[in-house]
Symmetry: C2
Subunit: 378 residues, 2 copies
């Protein structure tokens, strides 16, 4: 019997599940938003993931439904569960990835370290939070943000007026999330895989470098990370995976503060940009691990294959020439670089691929990875 | 512009090109012999590779045609070339993989070390060769043999009577190949990739262990191989790739004799079972390398990722239970083993997948790989 996994969403995360699915012998099917998406090779249906009938029809012939993104509405997820379809991660877990206020409240219940935060419904409440936190804070829309969208650093409550106005027009009502501006020395990410039957696999904590709110580089494992840091990060990852009953891959984005604490920034319940290094740098890539986890198969070894791996995103693509010409240039100069492309038309700031390099010396590995990625952009 | 590779043949070698094609952003299209072949995910056409019109129609929309096997007839290859289609490896090279007598003659011209051999058209000629070589020899049909088929050890010329009779009925006429029975201590395989523009990449020589004429295990790199052995093997691989103008992956099967010479046994002009270890054990897998080579893109680094990798074929599949149940058992006990499946229905002796393990200690790596593979068979 062949195992069948249905992925809702046809972006690069679904695309990168294709390779391990072929090798594992998993029949991967994708519900893509439109034709010619990144994961089109495995697309068995095209349709709107917000429409319950569309998703139910897609899900009928698979053993488990999983996701390329966290945006499938709760009523659609509920319809799947009611129809007896296995859904991983499940609606209960996805709720925390879909609403940052719900997530913050649940992490507080679990005693997870996080920035000071509050739910604010009015400019008065926001101004109070600002006054208590040195006059600056981060305001977030609880739903729909990613890659820096829906996130704003403000020093006056009036800077969120448009979002408050939008809230007033939203039938669901609600509030904005405001968080203290954390004084962090760097950002880290902790990935954990969890099966429905409970087994977890813990990846090494990595350092992520953001530019303009978008992940630019990942250093795996995180440099200068002692045993204590690694254990605390792993403990947070496992506690959240278990506390929120996440199934599949979980990524916990963390701040490392200047006084050496770890605070939870964001969660992602799917393969995540911070884990792309694992495609070439780990015994079990996050994409293979996600498939194993959602199918409730035994998890693979998350250990690194090399002392260091560095992943660099290709953002925007070539200023001139096609991606494939740039590809040949990168290949010629960097035969040890692994280039991964998403089948997307380049446009400014868009993630169109990434490069990984692994090796013994971090400085050398990082230099080579950056050089290979730069071949696409000059 | 997306690069398009057309693969003639829908077996596991085409299947294992899918993963690197997705990551490289290559549009892989497969002409499969029938529905539900190993590479069905990428199958864009189903038809007979011996029919020129079928292959021409398939080839019209790709940038280069390559192969899952070496059996496409020369007249079909000639029609492709005449139509202006890039074909790698080309007809001139494939001739040597299609006819072992032509191969032996050409290797002799190139001065390559090989077993004593002769073309024999009659039992009298065969008996003469036997008398000159201690009364035993290996007889091979020049065309169509693989995995031990078309190969017979004989001690009397009459044991090849049926093959001589078949020759007499073949309009192409011809002869059988007879080779001395080499006194070898082990079998090795040397892989080389070569681009049309000339660049070559040389993989480390590996040891292959055959059972009943079929590859059972590969140890990469070959244990107890000194500099001289590695250099001689690499030199033979490069000389054959260049001398025969092979494009794409070339595998040279070698005998290491008890008096420490290397003799060329067989050639394969495609990814080869002896290189499956490279999927997990090398910076650039043979399947990615084949795509790069036939597209005339710069070649990747063929260096191993770990000191040792061991590949074990899964032959025949489970005696009881499905492949997927066995898979879960293997995964549970061996989280570090990489299992690759071919989407084939198990039957006795059939290659249905393979397992690789990499690590620091050869004995440990081999033990773990054999244990993981045995989970499929007990």
């Amino acid at each position: 019997m062949v195992l069948r996994v249905g992925v809702v969403g046809g972006g690069q995360l679904a695309r990168m599940m294709i390779a391990p699915a072929v090798e594992l012998g998993v029949d991967l099917r994708v519900l893509a938003e439109e034709e010619a998406m990144a994961a089109s090779l495995a697309a068995s249906a095209v349709g709107d993931y917000r429409d319950a009938d569309t998703v139910l029809a897609f899900a009928r012939d698979v053993d488990v439904v999983t996701f390329d993104h966290e945006h499938v509405p709760q009523d659609v997820l509920a319809a799947l569960v009611q129809a007896g379809i296995a859904v991983h991660p499940g609606p209960g877990a996805l709720r925390f990835a879909q609403d940052k206020l719900v997530m913050r409240a649940r992490l507080a219940e679990l005693g997870m370290p996080q920035p000071d935060w509050a739910a604010v419904s009015t400019t008065v409440e926001l101004q109070e939070f600002l006054d208590e936190h040195g006059g600056r804070a981060v305001v977030k829309t609880p739903r729909g943000g990613y890659d820096g969208k829906g996130v704003r650093v403000v020093s006056a409550a009036s800077e969120a007026d448009d979002w408050f106005a939008a809230l007033a027009e939203d039938a669901r009502g609600g509030a904005l999330l405001v968080e203290e501006l954390v004084d962090f020395s760097r950002e880290l990410a902790q990935q954990v895989a969890r099966r429905p039957s409970g087994e977890v696999a813990v990846y090494p904590v990595v350092e992520t470098v953001q530019r303009d709110g978008v992940c630019a580089e990942v250093l795996a494992p995180a440099p200068h990370a002692g045993d204590r840091l690694r254990e605390v990060a792993a403990g947070i990852g496992v506690a959240i995976a278990e506390g929120l009953e996440v199934t599949g891959m979980l990524a916990v984005e963390l701040f490392e503060t200047t006084d050496e604490r770890l605070l939870v920034n964001e969660l992602a319940m799917r393969p995540h940009n911070s884990g792309h290094w694992s495609q070439d740098g780990s015994v079990t890539s996050q994409f293979e691990q996600h498939l194993r986890a959602v199918l409730d198969l035994p998890l693979g070894d998350p250990a690194p294959r090399a002392p260091w791996s560095v992943m660099i995103n290709i953002l925007g693509g070539p200023a001139r020439g096609g991606l494939d010409e740039r590809f040949a240039a990168a290949m010629a100069e960097h035969p040890d670089a692994k280039v991964h492309t998403y089948g997307k038309t380049p446009r400014p700031g868009r993630k169109v691929g990434h490069v990984t390099v692994s090796g013994e010396d971090l400085d050398d590995v990082a230099y080579r990875a950056r050089a290979a990625a730069s071949s696409f952009l000059d």
